[in-house]
Amino acid sequence: MAECHPVGFQWIMEAKARGATLIHVDPRLTRTGALADLHVPIRAGTDIALLGGLINYVLSNGLEFRDYVVAYTNAATILREDFQDTEDLDGLFSGWQDDTGSYQTDSWQYEGTGVASAAGKRQQGAKEQSHRRHATGRGHEHGSHGASLQGLHRMERDETLQHPRCVFQVLKRHYGRYTPEMVARVCGIPEDVFLQMARAITENSNRDRTTAWAYSVGWTQHTVGVQYIRAASVLQLLLGNIGRPGGGILALRGHASIQGSTDIPTLYNLLPGYLPMPHPDSHGSLDEYVADDSADTGYWGNMRSYAVSLLKAYWGDAATADNDFCFDYLPRITGDHSTYKTVQAQLDGVCKGYFLNGQNPAVGSANAKAQRLGMANLDWLVVRDFSLIESATWWKDGPEVESGEMRPEGVGTEVFFLPAAAHTEKDGSFTSTQRMLQWHHKAVDPPGDARSDLWFWFHLGRIIRAKLAGSTSDIDRPLLDLTWGYSTHGERDEPSAQEVLQEINGWTADGAFLSSYEELKDDGSTACGCWIYCGTYADGTNQAARRKPHTEQNWVAPEWGWAWPANRRLLYNRASADPEGRPWSEKKAYVWWDADAGTWTGHDVPDFQPTKAPDYRPPEGAKRQDALSGIDPFIMQADGKGWLYVPAGLTDGPLPAHYEPQESPVPNLLYGQQHNPARQMTKRGVDRYNPSGDEPGSQVFPYALTTYRLTEHHTAGGMSRWLPYLSELQPEMFCEVSPELADEAGLQHLGWATIVTARSAIEARVLVTDRMLPMRVHDRLVHHVGLPYHWGSNGISTGDGANELTHLSLDPNVHIQEAKALTCDIRPGRRPRGPERLRLVEDYRRRAGVTDQTGTAHRTTKEGGA
């Protein structure tokens, strides 16, 4: 955090100055670790083993926050009899299907409830339907809410937490083997260090104190990345650290509006506000779409209002109740269409046109070669950026041109480079990592042909619509009926960003701005481009542009910018009060029930129906939020509870289990199952995998490899490698190795090294440092090679890209690549030039026996096959 989010880190240092304990978990000792009370060195790719160890420490010592756990989580909920855990199946859960390489998830559900859709039941029976959903990659549909649950009134709970099939007991058994000794053997963390950490966390989690976890892509870029976050969720719920000030699991995101581009998604599986993109199997009509995804209970029960309001924002007067509000205009997804699938679609010649909007996949995406080969197979490519990034020039000077695999004269892709405007040259809002929208105002005009993306996309749409005007083709109706009347101003005809924000906020039929998503209607009388952002233009005022100095308001600073939803700064904050509505302690008071006034109140906007009393219990048949009781803080979940155990919505298990990365220097010591069995793999020639663990050939790639960012550069370098200041601070690609590894591999400090995987070989300057020491893991010493990933061949500061080495084995829930834990070899000297580079990699593959089968087995335990 001190390296990549330095200004946010000031708050950590402030907390430390006031007595907080700071613990840093990382294979490297970074600036964060240097300032921490405790640095916990961990082998890359083993965090679930560590978190599982902490969960086991809590459960086996009775250290859970019992009142919180019983009231606010699903610890008491009883599971079905046919559920089998990794304890029963050597690392698999029940429902594994060898033929599809995926789970059938019915047995994971709560006793008495179901998750299958009404539409699904009609079509093919609930059981088959749930399997099909997961086999087609639909585990990503629940971006902001838990899966819907049917028959919640039949759900059974044992609040003594003694029932052998209650979640609490299942959890205890599941994590029983994650002992301190096992943590040491798997993660390389000495037992005394682990126990120091476990004590610090548990002693700091109670009525008076809370513990926060902050993470970044070190937790997400894994074949089991979603379960990393889930493991932290389990621990934090057990310790009562969610929904309370100073608690939480905080994602430190790396782009100015990466949160905004998730909320208002440029993502294939979502519509604005985490509405799922429709799927033809269960979303043939608006009614089916809502029936399938909506929940009878919890706030997600209002999904129809959110969906209809979005359709009204998109298609305006053309969207009516008679035509299903133009629901049929929405394209459908039928599986995983994420960016790595798109690359494969390009290689297959299916995807022919590609827009890059401020993103540089030739450097920033995994398996950079596959990215470039995909682009070389396009009809046309449009790149919008500040400079000629590698994704714009690969046809001329990319690594494949150097190796002779590609000649410009042989590449048919037509390339348009359009210069982009900077944030100082346009109006607009960023959503920061804490869900806060902040408006930036235009200061000056952009230079030359540079334009904002608002300009580009508005005018592209305008020109396309003009060219298609008068078309009678049915496929053109969604374009011609689209509301696209934004006003423009100035010499460049810049569209009004304010008007777009107003549409995102939404209005009533008579044009009045909405102030809250509670006002959204499902009858077409409201339009709203993103329901969770409803209120950002409340009272006709740009709330995101508010800048009341922090010195002139309370410590929550509610009048700076605007946080979704409803300007709440801390989600699920009902949990900051006890079941009776009183703060857990005065010290940790945040929101509470004011019985005299009959309302929730506090320092923040309460994340609860304002007048729902703590003693409210839903009447029989209550719907939506009214079906949740006064002690159910997790209002987006169908049962209102924090999910220690996830009965539906994940593709790879209801509980996190430790699996080794796709490429690992050791076998899995916890189970016979080596990898996440449900992980995705391309299994293509351009994406071969190193052998793992004790497989033959694994010693050819003996070292753990991890990637990271530097303080002085930004992601794929488009905003930093062209800047003289930043290039001077970090002028060159390098690798970090320990003195022991330098000795073993013959590397010289400041000399050159070549790093090799089954995909490619790159060169880097050598930084020998004891910031990254070897670890005793299992029966061997594991060395790490650390690589920053910012570099490419263009700009002022140049170097080989770390993503030449990474592969496309992905997390099955969210399709994110495993760039944080791989294996490699490292050798002294620069890499070979030209075609010799390919020969070196081929030689490595041959020596390691790499084939199209290597590393591709899903199930490696003898148990659980079907």
Binding site: R332, S432, T711, M719, V814
Partner: protein, 193 residues
């Protein structure tokens, strides 16, 4: 040339003079100031206006103040009023002025014909028109009402978009809105990375 310019800038003399006048005898503070120093003015004081902004790098969301003079950005500083950053910026944030005023920024449309070995110039309006034509043609050629399993999908798998995390919410909104109306589903950004 006056006496001061020839002689007195020698620090020791100035310090002695300052000490005699009751200034800082250790040669710091006002004693160390020269006339050129006094003539210096920060760009933040001479700017025509100050514009509220936000750092474009990571998602911490530090407040920035953009100082403009003669319609040019002359300085970017942290905004002390921000409850997020309290005026601070990291090395990247502090280099933002260089990002936006960088002479290495491309300011012209570049065009590469199929099989060409070099870039060419292209007028922006022409480029927009050509891109629109390509979108329309690719969409027409690849749009399907039903997939291979005869399911109604109404989409094109021929067009994809990548990027958005560095852009504004309003820009992402238009990309998704237009992309969806085109029938494109392969719309992605850095959040997947």
């Amino acid at each position: 040339m006056g006496l001061r310019e020839t002689f007195l800038p020698w620090p020791a003399l100035r310090q002695a003079k300052a000490a005699l006048r009751g200034g800082d005898g250790s040669g710091r503070g006002s004693s160390a100031r020269s006339r050129p120093t006094d003539r210096l003015q920060p760009r933040t004081e001479t700017s025509d206006r100050v514009v509220d902004s936000v750092c474009p790098y990571c998602a911490v969301g530090c407040g920035q103040l953009v100082y403009v003079k003669d319609e040019k950005v002359v300085q970017i500083e942290g905004d002390p009023a921000s409850p997020v950053s309290r005026g601070r910026l990291c090395p990247k944030g502090a280099a933002t002025k260089q990002l936006v005023t960088n002479p290495l920024r491309e300011t012209k449309v570049r065009y590469r014909r199929p099989y060409a070995t070099q870039w060419e110039d292209l007028d922006l309006d022409t480029a927009m028109d050509m891109i629109a034509d390509r979108v329309i043609a690719t969409r027409r050629d690849t749009f399907v009402e039903t997939d291979e399993q005869d399911r109604r999908v109404r989409r094109t798998m021929g067009i994809a978009m990548l990027g958005g995390a560095t852009l504004d919410n309003e820009e992402n909104y238009l990309i998704k809105k237009l992309g969806t109306a085109l029938g494109a589903v392969q719309i992605e950004n850095q959040a997947r990375i």
